[in-house]
Structure formats: structure tokens, C-alpha cells
């Protein structure tokens, strides 16, 4: 493949560029793409292959409804607007479609929680409606009889996450960015002022700016420059079914999923909920668990059984659909469910762009654009203040105080 060419051998011992992006997932690739568009000399370093971490082991939903009302939702709304353009612009078919999304409500508690959620989303200008059970079943006839209702947003969609990620990287490359795979970073030297020396398995690279887009591995990169990053891997197992004729009209998640995302206690007691998406090739991606098990990417019989049971409860027709395989990916979890974006106060020139948990695919277009603006203009169209790493400082200080 042209992405994995023999560049490695041609690189001299030390190599200088303007910006080094660490991490060839969807976030790093998007940043590289947006920087290359602005004619910035950018180098994308990936320790394995492009999109072979979380970005290649996830579903492809681009949901607005699952975002916290506030800046998080505002980012998602802006991000979604960019997908149609990217579909034309990127060199790969990203399979973006605006299929509309449903959040499935099964209990009275979920109903009242979603009423509040919808109210806040509507106040932010998102056109979401709350449908009663029968109305939801009119839209999606396969829904089970016990479903109390659903919220609906016509702007929700889906994309092929791997093609999106590779599309950004390939697009960046065609605009002049350099992409090096097999370049795991093991040391960052910050001794020289205004210059980072990034040592990798593929040689040493110097740049005045370094962007940490290493996803679940962002804390390891942070540690190299003395920064504590509170990202933890959260495993999501996903089932892949055989291809079927179009069975569902929308992509959907259960209201439990939203609850579980913002409240880990509910994930443990009330179940993780489910997400359902039919891909362009006709397979269903059904997810997902949300587990803290370190960097273990194995699937478990128990986890897959839970997903299958949850999903068949919502769409009984799934009982008849064959499963062909399953996989797990690690979502970069942060304590408050929001990504960490922008410059890091203590290390001038070092930027964060990680910790999107399950929103990385949906937020990748806006993340790449805003980080590129930060690099070139020192500010971004949407202020990133709320996403700064320093928001966790007080928490850390409090923790240190109790440890003493």
C-alpha cells in the first residue's frame, strides 16, 4: 500500500520539520490533514500501522444526540457539518451517510432522563424530538413492542471509521505531509528551547511543535515531557453480523448507553446499553461494552453475550441474524467524558488532542481543524479553554493532598 512505503530507509539521522503529530489514528490523521491544508510542514508518526488502534476497532456512528449539551454538543454539531465536504474532498470513499439516529428508551427512568436531555439539546438548537413507542415503531418497524419511546434526530449519521482515518492520512500525504509508520516514540528531549527532539524507532525528528494524539497511549507520551494525562483505556467489545438486506432505517443507541457514558456507576449496575449500526456493506456492528481492564483487547464470551441479549431485546429480528466475528477496541476515557485539546501550559509548544473516548470518529473533523488553527494562529474558532489539560489540575492537587 502506498501509505506504507519505504520512506523509513531514506530518513537521515535527524530530521527537522515544523510540527510532529504523534499518533496515526483518526485524530492525528485529521490534524495532519488540516495542517497540510494550511501548508504547514507536518510529520505524522505512528508506532504501528495507520488506524490499527482504537480508530480501527470501533463503530462509525456520527451522533449528535449522544453528546452532552454544552460545548461538547456544539463541537459535534460543527463537526458533523464537515462530513459532507470531506466525503468529496478525501481521496477514499468514507461511506458517510446521514441515516438519522434513534435513542431507544426502555424504562420510565430513562424516559424522564431523556426528557431533560432533549430539552437541553433543543435549547442548544439541535432538532431532536421525543417520540412515543408507537411513533418510534412507525419509523423503525423492527423495534420491540416493549420500547417506551425514542428520541430522533435526522442529522445523526454514520461513516466508515477506517476509511475516514486512512482518508485523512492519505489526504494529508497528497498535500505534502509525511507519514511514517512503525515509528514508535520512546523519548522526547526538551532540553533545547523551542525545539523538541522526538526519538523514534524510525529515527530522530526535531520540531518546534509536538501534538500528542496518541489516544489511549497519550499518557505515555505525556510522561516523556513530564505531563500527567488522566486518560485510561476503556474496552469496548463489538459484534459483527453477517451481511443482511437493509433491515433498519436508522442507527440507534439505547438511552442506557448515554447514561453509562456519563455515569460509570450506571454502567456497572444498569447495564451498558447497546449501539446498532448497519454498515454500507450490510454487516451490523453491534456494541458495546465499557470496561476498565487495562490494555487487554480480548473479547469475552460474557461481554458478547450481554451485547447480543441487549440488542435482541430491542430488535427481536436479530435473534435470526448470524454473528460472524467480534472485536474489541480501547476507548481513550477521561474522567469527565470530554477530550483533552489544545496547548499544555507547562510545556510550550506541546499540544494535546486525545481522550475522545467514543466520540473520536464523530469529532475528528472539528478536532483537526481547531488544532490546526491553534498551531497556525494561536487561537481557534471555537475556544478550547474548556478542553484544556489544566482542568484536571485541581483534582490532582486534591488527590495529592489526601495522599500526603
Amino acid at each position: 500500500m502506498s501509505l506504507m512505503n519505504s520512506q523509513k530507509k531514506q530518513i537521515p539521522q535527524t530530521d527537522t520539520t515544523d510540527v510532529v503529530v504523534i499518533g496515526g489514528g483518526v485524530i492525528g490523521s485529521s490534524i495532519a490533514y488540516h495542517l497540510a491544508r494550511k501548508k504547514v510542514r507536518v510529520l505524522l508518526l505512528e508506532k504501528g500501522n495507520l488506524a490499527d488502534g482504537s480508530s480501527g476497532a470501533c463503530d462509525g456512528m456520527v451522533l449528535l444526540q449522544s453528546k452532552k449539551p454544552g460545548i461538547h454538543l456544539q463541537m459535534a454539531i460543527e463537526s458533523r457539518k464537515r462530513f459532507a465536504r470531506l466525503r468529496e474532498e478525501l481521496p477514499l470513499p468514507i461511506e458517510y451517510s446521514e441515516c438519522g439516529g434513534l435513542v431507544i428508551i426502555e424504562t420510565k427512568d430513562e424516559l424522564s432522563a431523556m426528557q431533560q436531555f432533549v430539552k437541553e439539546q433543543r435549547e442548544m438548537g439541535l432538532n431532536v424530538s421525543l417520540l412515543h413507542g408507537d411513533h418510534a415503531r412507525q419509523l423503525e418497524p423492527q423495534l420491540s413492542k416493549h420500547i417506551l419511546g425514542a428520541t430522533y434526530c435526522s442529522l445523526d449519521g454514520r461513516v466508515n471509521p477506517i476509511l475516514l482515518s486512512l482518508g485523512f492520512a492519505l489526504g494529508a500525504k497528497s498535500l505534502g505531509a509525511r507519514v511514517i509508520t512503525g515509528a514508535g516514540v520512546y523519548h522526547i528531549d526538551t532540553a533545547a528551547s523551542n525545539l523538541f527532539s522526538v526519538e523514534t524507532e524510525a529515527g530522530r525528528f526535531e520540531a518546534s511543535r509536538v501534538i500528542n494524539a496518541a489516544g489511549v497511549h497519550a499518557p505515555e507520551i505525556g510522561a516523556m515531557v513530564g505531563v500527567d494525562i488522566p486518560i485510561k483505556p476503556r474496552r469496548g467489545q463489538i459484534i459483527v453480523t453477517e451481511t443482511c438486506s437493509p433491515l433498519l432505517n436508522h442507527c440507534m443507541i439505547s438511552a442506557k448507553y448515554i447514561a453509562a457514558k456519563f455515569n460509570p456507576a450506571i454502567a456497572n449496575t444498569g447495564g451498558e446499553g447497546t449501539s446498532i449500526e448497519q454498515t454500507e456493506s450490510g454487516n451490523f456492528l453491534i456494541g458495546s461494552t465499557r470496561e476498565f481492564v487495562g490494555f487487554d483487547k480480548r473479547t469475552t464470551a460474557d461481554g458478547l453475550h450481554r451485547i447480543a441479549a441487549n440488542t435482541a431485546g430491542i430488535i427481536p429480528a436479530f435473534k435470526q441474524v448470524g454473528v460472524i466475528r467480534a472485536f474489541a477496541g480501547l476507548r481513550p476515557y477521561t474522567p469527565d467524558g470530554m477530550p483533552i485539546l489544545g496547548p499544555v501550559d507547562d510545556v510550550p509548544g506541546f499540544f494535546m488532542a486525545a481522550g475522545h473516548e467514543g466520540d473520536g470518529i464523530a469529532l475528528s473533523p472539528i478536532t483537526g481543524e481547531l488544532i490546526a488553527q491553534m498551531i497556525t494562529k494561536g487561537k481557534s474558532d471555537i475556544p478550547l479553554d474548556d478542553f484544556q489539560l489544566s482542568r484536571f489540575d485541581t483534582e490532582n492537587e486534591a488527590k495529592e493532598a489526601t495522599n500526603v
Binding site: 453477517e242 451481511t243 443482511c244 438486506s245 433491515l247 456493506s281 450490510g282 429480528a317 435470526q320 441474524v321 448470524g322
Partner: protein, 94 residues
């Protein structure tokens, strides 16, 4: 409708099957493949990406070209499934 079955061959009891909402007569012991062929169906599905027609090819369970939805279960081989009374078969040849 014109029946393609060979009249001289003895048949078991008559049953009804439903194909894409239309009712057809079939005989007990026939495969779904045979019943659909007798009812005049040639294209059983289209491929997902190129929308090429697919129908009966090997007739013995190997090629997976004759996949139809039977009683709600997608991707069932017509040639390996026997008809049952009131079986509902869906052919997605859009």
C-alpha cells in the same frame, strides 16, 4: 400461473407458501429452491455493492448464491431448506 414441475412425477401433499407477500402452492418435501423455480423466480437477490443479480447456481448448498430470507431469518440457502406450510419467504431483488 404456468407450473414448471414435471407432471408425471408423483407429488406429496399441497401446501401454501408466501413469497414477497404473494401466496403460492408448493408440495411437501420440495426445497425452497424448487418451489421458487416452479413459481417463476430466477433472481433471488442482488449483490450489495454492484447490485448484480444472483440466483440458483450449484443447487447443493455450496455456492451460497441462492440466499433468501425465510421466516425472518436472513441469508438462508433456498436449495438446502425444505418448504413448510405457511412459510414466509422474502426475496430482496431491488
Amino acid at each position: 400461473m404456468f407450473d414448471l414441475r414435471i407432471p408425471s412425477i408423483g407429488q406429496k401433499a399441497k401446501i401454501r407458501i408466501v413469497v414477497n407477500g404473494r401466496s403460492y402452492m408448493a408440495y411437501e418435501g420440495e426445497s425452497v429452491h424448487a418451489a421458487l423455480l416452479a413459481a417463476g423466480y430466477r433472481v433471488l437477490r442482488k449483490t450489495l455493492k454492484e447490485h448484480q443479480p444472483r440466483g440458483f447456481f450449484c443447487g447443493m448448498g455450496v455456492c451460497y448464491d441462492c440466499l433468501v430470507t425465510i421466516n425472518g431469518a436472513p441469508n438462508q440457502r433456498a436449495c438446502m431448506t425444505q418448504v413448510e406450510d405457511r412459510m414466509v419467504i422474502e426475496i430482496d431483488d431491488r
